[in-house]
Structures are given as structure tokens and as C-alpha cells.
Amino acid sequence: MNKILKYSLYDLIRSRWMFFYFGFFLLFTLGLFWLSPDLSKVAISMMNIILILVPLIATMFGLMYFYNSREFTELLLAQPIPRRHIFLGQYLGVAGSLSFSFLLGMGLPFLFHGLFTSAELPLFLTLLVSGVLLSFIFSGISFYIALKNDNRIRGFSLAILVWLMLAVAYDGFFLLLLSYFKDYPLEKPALALSIFNPIDLSRILILLKLDIAALMGFTGAVFKKFMGSQIGMLIAFIALLFWMLLPVLGIRRASSKKDF
């Protein structure tokens, strides 16, 4: 697996898409700093990019890479290595190089702006960690979808649907549900619903650093416990790790059953 990972990284790091992706984040972040010296304003804009674009790009790129390397994958399948190593290696290659481009593209402008001496360091680290986790989760989901669908059009449509669901529609249903049952105690359901969506989880992870003052205004005891201590941070982080593991298990299962 390490060898497959190594060579996919060799391949991907030199891909123009990765340069493009890196360049996008670099210019975007520099642009934000140029438009506003206010760190927390920059953070909010970056948060939106991380919550919407990072999952979308990771999904699309994962699918593209998978479908484009089909023939090469066949060559690898004929080599004396277990299947799961091939797909996990490729997946880690994609997720790793996406994360690398993202980290470098967003991280370098921070360094230029002396972030590591700033009080906002924890907030920006949370942003970077969320971006990396979402890159891993969504490229994993895209690999799983691609493994399950040989038809590219179908694969892409499905992936966009999943992204749309998790990035936007889910919160719509969520809000509808909360408003509908507003006369009931909703603290636990609200937290539980957040856990079932990795984008919501990342958002909450960032909120705990960005908007803690507002979150603390809530009266409920469960929220208070969740938001007011490190427990919330820890739970959200662990749940995200689970989300990272899920597609990996899916990839293992799907690849062991698939015909090429």
C-alpha cells in the first residue's frame, strides 16, 4: 500500500490540477488578507470555502482520478498485491495531495501574516484541520461511489447529489425539523443530527473557536456542557475521525467484491 501511495503521490503532486488547487487557495487567502486585515473576517470567509468548496473539489477530484486511472488500475490489479492496497493507496494519495495543496495554499499566507504569534492561532489551526479532514472524508466518499459505479455520468451525478445533500439540503431538513418540534426538548436531537453530517461537524468545530460567545448564550445544560468545555471539541473531532474511517471501510468492502 505504501508503494502505491508513494507513486500516486509522485503522480498527483505534479498534476496541474493540484497546482491549480494550490494556486486557488493561495490567491484566495492572499486576496482575503489584502481585502481585510481583520483576521476573524478572513476566518469567516475561509470557513465558507472550507465547508462548501473543499468537499466539492475533493469529491470531483477523487472521481476524476479514479475514472482516469482505470486502465492503470487494471495493470496494478495484475500485479502481486492485494486489491485493497491498490485502492487504499490511491485514495490516500488523492486525499493526501489534496490536503497538501490545501494546507500549503492556505497556510503560506498565514505564515506571511505572522499568524503563529497571533491570538487567533487556535481558530486557524481548527480551520486547517477541518479542511484536511473534509478532504479525506469526501475523497473517500467519492472513491466509494466510483467503485460502486462504473458509469461515469452516474458516478458524478451521484457524488454531486451526495455533496448537495450534505453541504446544503441536510441543514434545511435539520432546521425544518427543529422548527417543527420546537415545543419539545431538542438539545440532544440537535447535537445528534449534527454528528451525522461531517460538514456540520466541521462547522461546529470551527464555531467552538469562532462564535463561542454566542454559543454560550444558550440556556440548555447539555449544550452548556458540550460547548463550555473541551468535551464538545473532543466529541466533534472523534466523530469526524469516524467519518474518515467510514469510506475507508466502504472502499475495502467494495473493492474486494468488484469486477474490473
Binding site: 508503494k3 507513486y7 500516486s8 509522485y10 503522480d11 498527483l12 503532486i13 505534479r14 498534476s15 482516469n68 486511472s69 482505470r70 486502465e71 492503470f72 487494471e74 495493470l75 496494478l76 490489479l77 495484475a78 500485479q79 502481486p80 498485491i81 492485494p82 486489491r83 467484491k257 468488484k258 469486477d259 474490473f260
Partner: protein, 245 residues
């Protein structure tokens, strides 16, 4: 060496291989697997390589069932039909990668010279022409000394000189007592190098035998003619059988 027993494979409702039993035991033999499009050639090959998982039936290599195994692939050299590689790797890196995966001595340098690839070693694979990529493909397939060679359309995109070199290479391997399976659409190639023909039709083995058997059974001077007669006859049979009831 290769024993296929009652192999069934279906993709959804589409039955591609139907109760197919076949074995390749004779060393130093080149077997051409022929058949019209969709007859199951590639599925058969991929089943042997473990890329396609049988719906029913077993495949044994060197006396061992290959289900769930991967180590046996170290003894097979495979040439895939389409030569497409990671775009941003260089030719040399690709070869190094396969060597890295197999961890065995290989004779890639000799083959690189044979196919005149020295100038392309440091180029990214995306910049190579289709024919050159196929040559790289051949290097990857032939650089290991394995008892079994499985070649899917080996001549695709090759220039005449390279085809001659390929034929020499195949003869050379045959002399070394290898089992060589190949699929091709070039019937003259079959005439020239194959020892026997396995003809698949609708997931069955329609014919298996030596070239001379084939030619005499279907009264053809060359393989091409014999196959054409075979197909014509089959078409006729089918039409009459559908008219009968």
C-alpha cells in the same frame, strides 16, 4: 498449469461465461483466444488474473485455487489491452514502480533497447504516443521471467518493426517453455505464431484445437478464412433454428 472448471460469470443479467471448462497444460505453447466482440475473451483472461470474480466455478493455477489469493500473480506476466498510465509519472519511474512492487530481478534494459525507448525514459507518460505507450506496456509485461504470459491485443498501435520484434520475443519465450495466452484481431498473427486456437462464442468454447484442425474443420487456407467460414456457418445455423418453430 491453468485449470478452469465450470466457470460461470454474469454481470447483472448478462451471462458472459457459461459453464466454461478449459485448461492450459502444455508448456511451450502459444494459445490464441479468439471470438467475436462480447464473446467473453477479456472476461476469461481477467478471471484468470483475479480481476473478475467468478459467479460460479473454480480456477486453479499451479494446482491451487486462486480465489482470494494474490501472490500467484507474481508468476504471471500480463499485458493489458489499453496502455494508459499515470500522466505525470515518467517512463523510468513507472518501470521502477513495477519493479518496486514485484521486487525481483528484471531485464527491462534489454527490452528498452529492443523497442528503442531510451529517448523516452525521462518523459512524462502523458507525452508519449499511443504506439510508444504500447511499447512501454510490452516492456512491463516481458521484463520478468514468468511461466505464464497473458497478452491482450499485444500488437495494438505498434509499427511494423516493433511487431516483428514482438513476434521474435514471443518465439523466444515459447522456446523457454512458457505458456502464452493471447487475444488478437490480427488473424495473420495467429497464423504466424499460434500453436492452437480457443474460439469462444456466447460464453462457450465453440472450438479448441490446433491451427491445422481449425483450417481443416472449417475448410480455410488461412485462419482468417477458416474463422470467417465458422462464423458464417454459425449465423446460418442460428437463422434456421429461429425459423423452425
Amino acid at each position: 498449469m491453468i485449470a478452469i472448471e465450470r466457470l460461470h460469470k454474469q454481470f447483472g443479467k448478462n451471462k458472459v461465461l457459461k459453464n466454461l471448462s478449459l485448461s492450459f497444460e502444455q508448456k511451450g505453447t502459444i494459445s490464441a483466444i479468439l471470438g467475436p466482440n462480447g464473446s467473453g475473451k477479456t472476461t476469461l483472461i481477467k478471471s484468470i488474473l483475479g480481476m473478475v470474480l467468478p459467479s460460479q466455478g473454480n480456477i486453479h493455477l499451479f494446482g491451487k485455487n486462486i480465489r482470494g489469493q494474490w501472490q500467484y500473480r507474481d508468476h504471471i506476466s500480463y499485458l493489458p489491452q489499453i496502455a494508459r498510465f499515470p500522466e505525470n509519472l515518467k517512463t523510468a519511474e513507472l518501470i521502477a514502480m513495477i519493479k518496486d512492487l514485484r521486487q525481483r530481478p528484471a531485464r527491462e534494459e534489454e527490452l528498452i533497447r529492443l523497442f528503442d525507448l531510451q529517448a523516452h525514459l525521462q518523459k512524462p507518460l502523458a507525452y508519449l504516443s499511443g504506439g510508444t505507450r504500447q511499447k512501454v506496456n510490452l516492456v512491463l509485461a516481458f521484463m520478468y521471467d514468468n511461466p505464464i504470459y497473458i497478452l491482450d491485443e499485444p500488437t495494438a498501435g505498434l509499427d511494423p518493426l516493433a511487431i516483428i520484434r514482438l513476434k521474435e520475443l514471443l518465439q523466444e519465450e515459447k522456446q523457454k517453455d512458457k505458456i502464452i495466452l493471447l487475444t488478437t484481431h490480427i488473424m495473420s498473427l495467429v497464423d504466424e505464431i499460434a500453436d492452437e486456437v480457443v474460439f469462444l462464442l456466447d460464453g462457450h468454447i465453440h472450438f479448441r484445437g490446433s491451427l491445422s484442425d481449425l483450417k481443416s474443420t472449417y475448410s480455410g487456407q488461412a485462419v482468417e478464412q477458416a474463422i470467417a467460414n465458422l462464423l458464417r456457418q454459425e449465423q446460418h445455423n442460428r437463422q434456421t433454428s429461429t425459423r423452425l418453430p
